[in-house]
Amino acid sequence: MPGVLANVDYGDLLTIFRAREVIIEARKRFVTKIDKLDPEILADSFYIHYRTPILKNPSSLESIKEKLWYMIVSTYINSPEYREVSKVTKLNSKLSRIMATKVIRVYINMLTKVERNEILKDALESNIPKPRSDVSSNEKDSQGPGSSSSPLEFKLLEQEVRTQLSINIGNLKGIDEMVSRVKSLLGASVGHEVAELLLNAEEDSERVKLMNMLRSLIKLVSSIKREYEIFEEASEGKGVPEGVKKMRSIDEFRDTTPSEQALIKYSKALFAYKLGTSNLTVRERRLDTKPKLYLLIDKSGSMFYTVSNRVPHEVGSLSKIVWATSIALVLALKGGKIVVRYFDRQAHELIKDKRTIVKTLLTLTPLGGTSITTAVRTAIQDAKENPKLRTYRLILITDGEDDYVNPETLIEAKKTYRDFKAILVGNDNQVIEKYISTLKIRNLDIKEAKEVLKTI
């Protein structure tokens, strides 16, 4: 049996299921020859990530395939990449599956290399892999015979395994810290989503880009959240009319329903009777203690730049789109009812939770022109389909790079929503500024973000 872990029951139904799940995941990722692999190897690839692996005694290894798999697992679980990634994948089946497919790729590639290269084959045949001393206590007592010999061919093989691991696993430095920070700031579900996106990245450059965006986002969101308490709307004391009720105190007199007001004019006696018997009906007002906002965030190519620089995803810089998203996230973290639509030439899917906001931000493609009119029209349509949205404030965040904005659409949106404001980031737009209340942002910093939160 080619399984190399002592703490996996290969005959268990759940283990067999996990192995099948790795196959399904690998097929989705176009991993070739996956169907030819032993289920024990597939189970190992999963459980080295899901559990703390305990390697079996290598002296029982017989075939070249078993020895090669043992060597890959042993090298991998002692690598800095594994130390980093295992903290994230432990007890997380989805992330363990993703990483399992990457290790499987290494195995398949190495298998092909060994089959084609006699030197590597001989190196494997003549050597029983040496277990590393820091893997587990169980394994310390089980050093295999022949493990001391380390000829040049074997070193070549080891080097080849490390190269393959480096190509397929990539640089995962800082992932655990990043995921932990996201979890503590935005919650476990957002953390898992971010971990998945980071592990899914096929290339290191893509991962660096995501890490950069996340770093900026976390820094900004945590700074604003720490320093600022948004919306003391309860203190406004106005509330939103919602249904009718019997009047309980004289303060509610101003809210008497039109039919009761008519009584004052036409039947004072009846009005007095109803007042005396506490049967006057008034409009019920529900206090809005949390913000209710509909954010339209521009995601056109230009939003991925900083205000002053036109280099997208520049390391250490803060792009307009990250800045805008952090506003949405802070509002969501404060318990507000937030819906978001990113838009370019067209409006994208309506998002209602912070997990999807972050996921969408990280997967957005910085492409497409800008059609503010289309986006605002979509928001109007949303309010028609869902009248509850009419009590929301509509906020447009854009750099205003749109040649034509239809003023009539802006006016209609103003009438449809409780309020309509625009945040112009690093740019001007005469139509927007003329028809709706606009706040211009020149620097993407915490101070400006706080100003925006106060204004909206």
């Binding site: 002592a6 996996v8 029951d9 139904l13 759940l14 899901y50 079996k56 089946s93």
Partner: protein
């Protein structure tokens, strides 16, 4: 007791009584009983597959009696005539030149129908059955006759291989595989079996078909209003399941309804339903959507992987301990067993009674396995 009232809460309470009664009179039949109630409450056809003598017919009979429902029973063979199922031609009318049937006491006239050995039926009957199962009508000559049958139960001792029977098989989306009890359970089976015989003679209705209609109506109405939210929770689980066990589109659509009825049977009101409960119920009802006996293992593994996090962690620790014992890593195994015990104890204290009830069999099984493992590690 008036069982005509259709107040949904009272109806649910009475159906719970039926559930308890069936569990009380049948021996180790909870799986089959839950399935039959899910199918009845969601107006779905239910197939019982298993060897002869596993109380398939008796279960349907007992349910009919407890619900005061009129039931139709036929054992189908390839020689069974269509008249035996949908009623004979009215000879008196025939003499007048009119072709009419007498539907009284046929499948058309009954609330429940149990078709024994359903896959042995002739093709003429199969064609008629398809429209009964799917549309609840029969095409009789030039007439379309509505069928009163609320739920059709099928029983068989085999899963059909024949291509022509696959359409009929899919009309029974909810399936249960009955089996003989363990040899060790023969004594309690014998006692329960004799008690069951007596019980069936004096069994009285505890609920009515009105209760079934009422619950069916409120669950459907709940889904009409909440399907978007419900499907967000239910669909990822079903999507994962169908990667392992194929389920037809027709059946996938119905999964939210089955899940809700499962919760109703287990004492949860529609107002109290939350995402955790829906997830639990979805995983539980997927066991009725398997095609053959071999897929039971696929389901069990799937259900383990989708256990609530705490329970899954204990399962994983137990599996690890098992593997470590096989590999003579006793001290490591001992640690796992100890951790698993501790977690199980904490879980029992933290979980609500209803939640523990939902996972009673899994918890008992884990506890028994842990006890065995504990004995082994202590011996060594």
């Amino acid at each position: 007791m008036s069982i005509m009232s259709t107040n949904p809460q009272e109806a649910i309470s009475r159906i719970r009584d039926v559930y308890y009664k069936l569990n009380e009179i049948f021996f180790k039949f909870n799986n089959e009983i839950t399935g039959i109630l899910i199918s009845t409450l969601s107006r779905e056809n239910y197939l019982l597959i298993g060897p002869p003598g596993t109380a398939k017919t008796t279960l349907v009979y007992a349910l009919s009696r407890l619900l005061n429902a009129k039931w139709f029973y036929r054992q189908l063979t390839k020689f069974t005539d269509l008249e035996e199922v949908i009623g004979p031609i009215n000879i008196a009318k025939l003499l007048e030149g009119k072709v009419e049937r007498i539907y009284a006491n046929s499948i058309v006239d009954c609330e429940f129908a149990l078709l024994d050995e359903i896959f042995n039926a002739s093709s003429a009957i199969l064609n008629t059955l398809l429209s009964i199962l799917n549309e609840r009508v029969i095409y009789d000559g030039d007439k379309i006759v509505p069928v009163k049958t609320w739920t059709v139960f099928g029983s068989s001792n085999r899963v059909p291989d024949e291509e022509e029977l696959q359409a009929l098989y899919d009309r029974f989306p909810l399936r249960v595989f009955t089996e003989y009890v363990d040899p060790d359970d023969t004594e309690p089976l014998m006692i329960k079996g004799w008690e069951l015989r007596k019980e069936l003679e004096k069994i009285e209705p505890l609920a009515s078909m009105e209760d079934i209609y009422s619950i069916n109506k409120i669950t459907i109405s709940y889904l009409d209003n909440n399907i978007k939210d419900v499907s967000k929770i239910v669909s990822p689980i079903v999507a994962n399941y169908v990667e392992h066990v194929p389920v037809s589109n027709r059946t996938r659509v119905k999964v939210p309804l089955y899940a809700l009825t499962y919760l109703v049977i287990h004492g949860f009101t529609l107002e109290n339903i939350n995402s955790t409960l829906l997830r639990v119920a979805t995983v539980k009802i997927l066991k009725y959507l398997i095609h053959n006996r071999e897929q039971i293992n696929d389901y069990l593994a799937f259900a383990s992987a989708h256990l609530p996090e705490d329970l899954l962690r204990i399962t994983e620790l137990t599996n690890e301990a098992k593997a470590l014992i096989s590999n003579y890593a006793i001290s490591e195994a001992k640690e796992r067993v100890k951790d698993a015990y501790k977690m199980l104890q904490e879980l029992k204290e933290r979980w609500s009674k209803l939640m523990i009830k939902l996972f009673e069999s899994e918890i008992n099984e884990l506890e028994s396995l842990l006890n065995k493992l504990k004995d082994i590690v202590e011996e060594r």
